[in-house]
């Protein structure tokens, strides 16, 4: 186990390094607007904003190949956008419109696009890891070099089957990255107060796989850890566990009144560990970006999200006559 606190520059070309920043800014812009729209009642059922967790998603997605897959959690817009789903497709889905990524059948907690390697966000804590683990088994059975990343949160670290999945991946050496995106709070419960042994990485290491804690506010660290884990998975060395330490600025869901932590705590994270501000500053210091370039990324993100809102607002509703269609391939001899 190691803890990475260094802040190296990414081992990629400057255009890619800037693209990571652009992706994080787009996620933040999208989530802030989405949160606003949820509070205005535009998103049935609301949403779980991932503001503050952008580096985790972008580091994971960019550490994988396009053909690799990610299955995630109920807080998942950042994963979906990082994997390449467009803001328009996500937002129209959140609205419940026909033009959404899943035709309005999924929603915020069930976003999937298999062409992008996005194997579903998931409304049940820990379940995304199960799908990723099974997908990794499928990849192994077929002899492909595909890698799967299954993401759960610190809340999921106390779900029993998460460790069933981890154990099976370990004994079968599946090409899986087991990712705990630890934002410190399981809904309204401080995870440290309900986690025996306190250390989730040590718990994972007990299953006999390499396990690391990673600074989740640093996209470079996440990218590096995921790339290395993907290499191990691809070369037959089996799964790796990564605990990505991060923080959500907003409540569990949009509009939640927060009584379980102090404003000071939130401010400390925002002012010293913000993944976007810190990474942008590093790019500027390294001469890979200037202030004008940063402003341009912010403008582009705003324009893209504006267009997504227009798209979602104007998109048609799905046809109610189709609501019960495509439930099963087996229809039998139905009596008409």
């Amino acid at each position: 186990m190691t803890t990475s606190t260094a802040q190296p520059m990414p081992d990629v070309d400057p255009a890619a390094a800037r693209e990571w920043l652009a992706a994080m800014i787009l996620i933040r812009t999208f989530e802030e607007r989405g949160d606003e729209l949820a509070l205005r009642g535009k998103i049935p059922g609301g949403m779980h904003p991932a503001i503050g967790q952008e580096a985790a998603a972008v580091g994971i997605a960019r550490g994988l190949r396009g053909t690799d897959l990610v299955a995630g959690t109920h807080r998942a817009h950042h994963h979906a956008l990082a994997k390449g789903m467009t803001p328009s497709a996500v937002l129209a889905e959140l609205y419940g419109k026909a033009s959404g990524s899943n035709g309005g059948r999924g929603g915020s907690m069930h976003l999937a696009d298999f062409d992008l390697g996005l194997w579903g966000s998931n409304g049940v804590v820990g379940a995304g890891l199960g799908i990723a683990m099974g997908a990794a088994l499928g990849a192994k059975q077929r002899g492909t070099d595909q890698v799967a990343a299954g993401i759960f949160g610190d809340g999921g670290a106390n779900v029993g089957r998460v460790w069933e999945f981890t154990n099976l991946a370990a004994i079968w050496k599946l090409p899986l990255i087991v990712v705990c995106e630890n934002n410190l709070y399981a809904v309204e419960t401080q995870t440290s107060s309900v986690t025996g042994g306190a250390d989730i990485t040590r718990r994972a290491a007990g299953f006999g796989l390499p396990a690391f804690t990673v600074d989740g506010q640093d996209v470079v660290s996440v990218h590096q850890a995921v790339s290395e884990a993907a290499d191990r998975a691809r070369t037959g060395s089996g799964p790796t566990f990564l605990e990505i330490l991060t923080y959500r600025y907003k409540g569990h869901d949009s509009g939640q009144v927060i009584r379980y932590r102090t404003d000071d705590e939130v401010q400390r994270w925002r002012s010293s560990k913000d993944p976007i501000e810190n990474y942008a500053a590093r790019l500027i210091t390294a001469g890979l970006l200037d202030e004008a370039g940063l402003a341009a990324l912010t403008d582009t993100a705003r324009t893209t999200v504006d267009e997504a809102v227009t798209f979602a607002e104007e998109a048609p509703w799905p046809d109610p006559c189709t609501a019960a269609e495509n439930v099963s391939a087996y229809t039998g001899n139905e009596q008409r």
């Binding site: 999937a112 579903g120 998931n122 049940v124 997908a135 088994l137 069933e164 999945f165 439930v327």
Partner: protein, 330 residues
């Protein structure tokens, strides 16, 4: 075609043929490679196909089913063998909240088979649940429950060539039941019932081990001039309503035989469907001979008191056959 298989060897022979035909099929579960499963359902297939295709697992039902769901979504055809269907309770989220909903939400086929031995026999309260009631009320899951070797093999082949999750239930009491089974390409379609015995007077509907009881009861009342048509549902979801309704329109009298607890079980649904689709053809209310609303105890003396018996079905057939006009409250 083979003329002499058991319920269990028909499963194995169907599995072997399908695994030879399609290299993406593999089986995972506990005690499969050496032992061949708790009912010898895959005996010998381990050494034949290797440990990657007959995969032994820890006792981790959630992981077993999750592995099957994800692998089915990723270009393979896994069969998760739970040995006893009761153990599915440890994997309900994977089955009901994941496998059953993936086509609907995401348009992705999930060609997964979850096989287990089911039905009421020995073993007490926790090994004799009637989970078919739960699964048939879950949109997105197909449920099959064959009664004879031919259908075990034919339904397995359909499931392994299909696109969506199939819960494959095999009754404990039928494990050694003998009969013919079909050849490599003789399939039994999922969602198709069969007429196990044609008749004109009363329709007797059942599935699984109930078909054995039904055939004996029908034979018994035939001597008294009651001509019973026995329907073997074979699939509980989707239900073959055409076969049911066609028979009911002919006989006008129906008994549903079902060992599941009577409340909200398959018999309740079948009865409601008959009322929806054939009410005006009925001469009498639909009769139900079902399991009691009770857990299953250990003592055989107590078990028998809770389950449908041949004598009970005979009495129900005699009563409904003789009834004319409105049933009177007594």
């Amino acid at each position: 075609m083979s003329n002499d298989e058991t319920y269990s060897t028909a499963y194995r022979s169907g599995m072997r043929e399908e695994m030879e035909r399609d290299g993406t099929i593999f089986v995972l579960g506990t005690d499969l490679f050496d032992r061949g499963g708790h009912f010898s359902q895959v005996k010998g297939l381990g050494p034949e196909f290797g440990a990657d295709r007959i995969r032994d697992t820890p006792i981790s039902e959630a992981a077993m089913v999750a592995a099957g769901v994800g692998a089915a979504m990723n270009g393979t055809r896994p069969v998760v063998d739970l040995n006893f269907m009761d153990f599915a309770y440890g994997a309900m989220d994977e089955l009901i909240n994941q496998a059953a909903k993936i086509r609907y939400m995401w348009g992705r086929p999930v060609p997964l088979v979850v096989r287990a031995t089911a039905g009421v026999a020995q073993g007490g309260a926790q090994h004799n649940n009637s989970l078919q009631s739960t699964f048939m009320s879950t949109p997105g899951l197909s449920v099959v429950f064959p009664s004879r070797p031919w259908d075990v093999k034919g339904l397995l082949k359909s499931a392994l060539r299909g696109e969506d999750p199939v819960v494959f239930m095999m009754h404990k009491m039928l494990t050694g039941a003998r009969g013919p089974a079909g050849g490599p390409d003789e399939l039994v379609p999922i969602g198709s019932a069969r007429i196990a015995r044609p008749g004109r007077d009363v329709t007797l509907i059942s599935y699984g081990y109930g078909v054995t009881i039904a055939e004996k009861a029908a034979q018994s009342v035939a001597a008294q001039g009651i001509d019973t048509e026995v329907i073997d549902l074979r699939s509980l979801s989707p239900l073959d309503l055409n076969t049911i309704v066609t028979s009911v329109r002919k006989t006008g009298k129906v008994i549903v035989l079902d060992e599941a607890p009577i409340s909200a079980g398959p018999a309740a649904e079948i009865t409601a469907q008959i009322n929806d689709h054939a009410f005006w053809y009925l001469d009498q209310p639909v009769g139900r001979v079902c399991g009691a609303d009770s857990p299953i105890p250990h003592s055989p003396a107590l078990v028998d008191a809770l389950l449908p018996s041949e004598a009970g079905v005979v009495a129900a057939l005699q009563q409904i056959a003789a009834a004319t006009g409105p049933a009177l409250a007594s």
